[in-house]
Subunit: 514 residues, 2 copies
Amino acid sequence: DLQAQKAGQLFSGLLALNVVFLGSAFICSMIFNNVAVTLEDVWLLLVVLKVLSLLWLLYYVASTTRRAHAVLYRDPHAGPIWVRGSLVLFGSCTIFLNIFRVGYNVSHVHCKSQLELVFPPIEIVFISIQTWVLWKHCKDCVQVQTNLTRCGLMLTLATNLLLWVLAITNDSMHHEIEAELSALMEKFSGNETNTCLCLNVTVCEVFRRGYLLLYPFSTEYCLVCCAVLFVMWKNVGRCLAPHAGPHPSTPPFRLHGAIFGPLLGMLALVAGVCIFVLFQIQASGPAIAHQYFTLYYAFCAAILPAMTLACLVGTAIHGLEERELDTLKNPTRSLDVVLLMGAALGQVGIAYFSIVAIVATHPQELLNRLILAYSLLLILQHITQNLFIIEGLHRRPVWEAALQGKPEAEPPRRGSLLELGQSLQWASLAYIHSYSHLNWKRRALKEISLFLILCNITLWMMPAFGMHPEFENGLEKDFYGYGTWFTIVNFGLPLGVFYRMHSVGGLVELYLGA
Amino acid sequence: DLQAQKAGQLFSGLLALNVVFLGSAFICSMIFNNVAVTLEDVWLLLVVLKVLSLLWLLYYVASTTRRAHAVLYRDPHAGPIWVRGSLVLFGSCTIFLNIFRVGYNVSHVHCKSQLELVFPPIEIVFISIQTWVLWKHCKDCVQVQTNLTRCGLMLTLATNLLLWVLAITNDSMHHEIEAELSALMEKFSGNETNTCLCLNVTVCEVFRRGYLLLYPFSTEYCLVCCAVLFVMWKNVGRCLAPHAGPHPSTPPFRLHGAIFGPLLGMLALVAGVCIFVLFQIQASGPAIAHQYFTLYYAFCAAILPAMTLACLVGTAIHGLEERELDTLKNPTRSLDVVLLMGAALGQVGIAYFSIVAIVATHPQELLNRLILAYSLLLILQHITQNLFIIEGLHRRPVWEAALQGKPEAEPPRRGSLLELGQSLQWASLAYIHSYSHLNWKRRALKEISLFLILCNITLWMMPAFGMHPEFENGLEKDFYGYGTWFTIVNFGLPLGVFYRMHSVGGLVELYLGA
C-alpha cells in the first residue's frame, strides 16, 4: 500500500514535471524567438491546460459528492482560514484584473486579434471554479481513485505554476501601456503616429490603472493555489488516526497584559499606513518625488533593525527556556518550514541584486546609500526572523503541554467522587499555570511576537497594495534593463508578500503557544 | 541534541543560500550589464570564496587527524568507488583544462590582463586540494565542532555551485575562440584586423581543442563535488549503530548465465563506439557532414525504444514479484532517488526545448524529424527508466533477504556439533537458493539490468567524451540564439552525463539484488 502510494506520487510528479517543462520551453521560446513562437501560442497551450484542469476539477467534485466514502478524513491542519481567505481575496482580484483586461481590449477592439478577446473570459471561468473547488475541498483526504486524483491535482498545479511563470516573465501588456502613453504624448504634441490608440481616454485610464494595480495579486494567486494543491496532493490516500479528529482547539487570542509590543507595533503600523498613503497619492501623479523614496527607505531602515533585534532576543529566550522540544515528525510543520525558507528567497534575491547594482555603480547620493542599508538590513531581518519562527515552531505550546500533562484521559468510568474532585483540581491548576502565571520569559515572548506580527503586517500591506519602490526608483531598472528587472521583481515581490503573510501565521502560532 | 543539529543545519544552509545569492547576483549583473560588473569582478569574488574554502579544508584535515575521537564512524554508503573515481577523473580533466587555459593565455600574453593570468593557477591549487580532501574524507561522520564543520562544508558547496553556474553561463572563452578563428580567416584573405591573435598557431590550436574538449568535464566536476559535500554535510554529527560497522558485503559480480542482455548490450556499445569515432573524426574537420548527424540520431532512435521496452517489462516483473518491499527509511536511498529525478531534468529539459524549436519551425527535412523523434523517445526513456530503477531500489535484495532470513547469528558458543551441522546445511541451502536456482523472473531482471547497464554506458560515453550534436546541428542554436542555447545545453548535458552514471550505479545494484 505504501509502495502503491509512492508509485502514484512518483508518476503524478513526473507528469507535472513534463507539463511544466513543455510549458517552460514554450515560454522561453517566446522570450528568445518571438517570431516563431508568439504569445498567442503560449496562451493557446495554457487554455488547453486550463480546460483539462477544469474538467478534472468538475469531475472531482462530482465523484466525491456522489460517493459517501470518498472523503473519510479531513486534515485539520490543511487550509487554515487565512490561506482560504487569501485564496478568495486574490482570486477576486485576479477576476477583476481580467475584467479590466476585457475592457481594455474592447476599447482597443479595432487593433486586437479575435483570439486576444477570448482569453480573459476563459481565465475568469477557470479562476472562479478553481477558487470555489479549493475553498470547499482543500482539507480533503481522498480515498478513492487515488492515482487519478493525484494526476489531476498535479495537472492543475502545473497549470498554475505555468501561469505564474508566464505572469512573471511576460511584460508585453506593460510595454503596450507604456507605448500607448508615449504615443498619446506625441499625439498631443502634434505628431500623429499609427499606434493603436484608445477610443475613450478616460475609460482606458481606469482600465490601465486597475490592470497595473491588480497585476501583483494575480501572481500571488497562482502561488497560493500551488501551495493548497500541493497539500491536497500530499493528503491523497492519507488516513488520519480517528481520535485526532477533533483537533484540540487553540486557546482564544487574548492580550495577557502585553503592552510594549503591541504599542510599538501599532506605532509602526500607523507610520507605515501614513507613508503608504503619501506614496500612493504621489504615484497617481506623473512621477514620484525624490523625498518620498527617501521617506520610505528611511522608515524601513528604522523598522528592520528593531525587528532583527526582537528576533535575536526571542531566539535567545527560546534558548533559555525549559520548555520541551517537540521532536515528533509533523508534515504540516515541515511544509511550513520549507515554505518559510522558500518564500524568503524572493525578497533576499531582490536585495542581493540591489546590493550588486548599487555597489557596482558607486553612487554618492543619500537615497542610494539608504537603499543599500535597507537591502542589507532586509537580508539580516529575514535570516533572524526565520531562525526565531522555526525555533519557536519546534517548541511545544504551553497549552498543549498543560493539556497533555494531564494523566491519560481514560474512558469515562462511573468513578468515585474523589477522582472527580482530583480531576477538577488538576484542571484548575493547569488553567492557572497556563493563563495567569506568566513568567517573564513567556511574557517577553508574547510581547516580541505581537510586535513582530504588527511589523510584518505593515511590511505586508505596502507591497500587497501596489507600492513597488523597487521598480519605481529606477536605479536597478537602469542597471539591469527593463525586462530583466521586471522578471526579478515580479519573481521576488509576490514571494515576499507570501513570506510576510506566512510569517504572521507562524508568529500567531508562537504567540498562542508561549 | 536533535534540536542543536537542526539549528546548525538551518544556519549553515542559510549561510550557503546567501553566498549563492550574492554570487548569482554578481553573475546576472555580469550578463545583463557587462560594463559595471565585469567577468574579472566575478572571478575575484570566486577567488575569495576559493581561498576561504581552501583554508577551511586544510583546517578540517588538520583538526580531524589531530584528534582521535573526531571521526568515530564512517558512513559505508557514502562515497562509493564510482563517485570517488569520477571525482578524480573529472578533477584531473579540470586541471588539464586550466593548464590549457594557462597555455592559451600565455600565447596571447600581449593582449591579456595580468589578472587573467593569475586565475587558472589558483583554480588548479583549489581543485587539487579539494579532490584530495574529498577522496580521503568523503565517508566521515564528524563528531567535533559540528557547527563550524557544517558551515565550512556549506561554504565549499556554495563555491562549487557558483563555479558551476558561472561555467554554464559564461561563454566568453568560446566567443573569444570563435572570434579568433574568424579573424584568422580574414587574415589569410588579406584583411588585417587588430584582433588579439595567437603568437604560435599550431600550439594555440592544441590549447583551443583541449579547452573545448575538456570544458564539459569541469561542469561535471562541480556537480560531483556538490553531491559529495552534501552527503558529508548530512553526515555531520551522525552516530551509526555500532553493529552496522562492517557493511554486509554485496555478492561479487557474476553473470549467472545471462546471455541475451549482455549480448544485445555489447552490440549497442560497439555500434555506439563506432559512431562516436566516426563523428569525432568528422568533428575535427571544419564542419560535420549532414549524414553523420542522421547516423547519430538514427542510432539513438533505435536504441531508446529498446531501452524503454526493457524498462517497462522490468517494471511489470517487479509488479509480479513476491519479493518483500523494503519500507524502512533509508537516507542514502532517498538521496539516490532525488538525484536520479533531479539529474533527469537535464536531458528532459533539452529535449523539450528541441521539440518546441522543431515544431515551431515546421521543418520538412529527415534530420529534423529524426531529432523530433529522438527527443520524444528520450523523454519517454527517462521516465520509464526512473520508474524501473526507483521501483527496484525499494525491493529487498535477494541476497540480503537470504542472509537475514537466517536465525539470528548468536555470539559463537562452544555449541554442539549438531548445531554446527545445521548451520552449515542452512548456509548451503541459502547459497543454492540465491545463486543456482534462478527462477525466470529473476533471470529476466538480470538480463534486463545488464542490457540497460550497457546501453547507459553507451549513452554516457558519447556526451562525456565531447560529442555534442545538440550544439553542433545548429537547428536550436539558430532558433534560440547562441547565448541562450549555450546555457541550456551546458546546464542540461552535464546533468545528463551525471544521470547516466548514476543510472548505471542504480542498475548494478538492481542486478546484484535480483
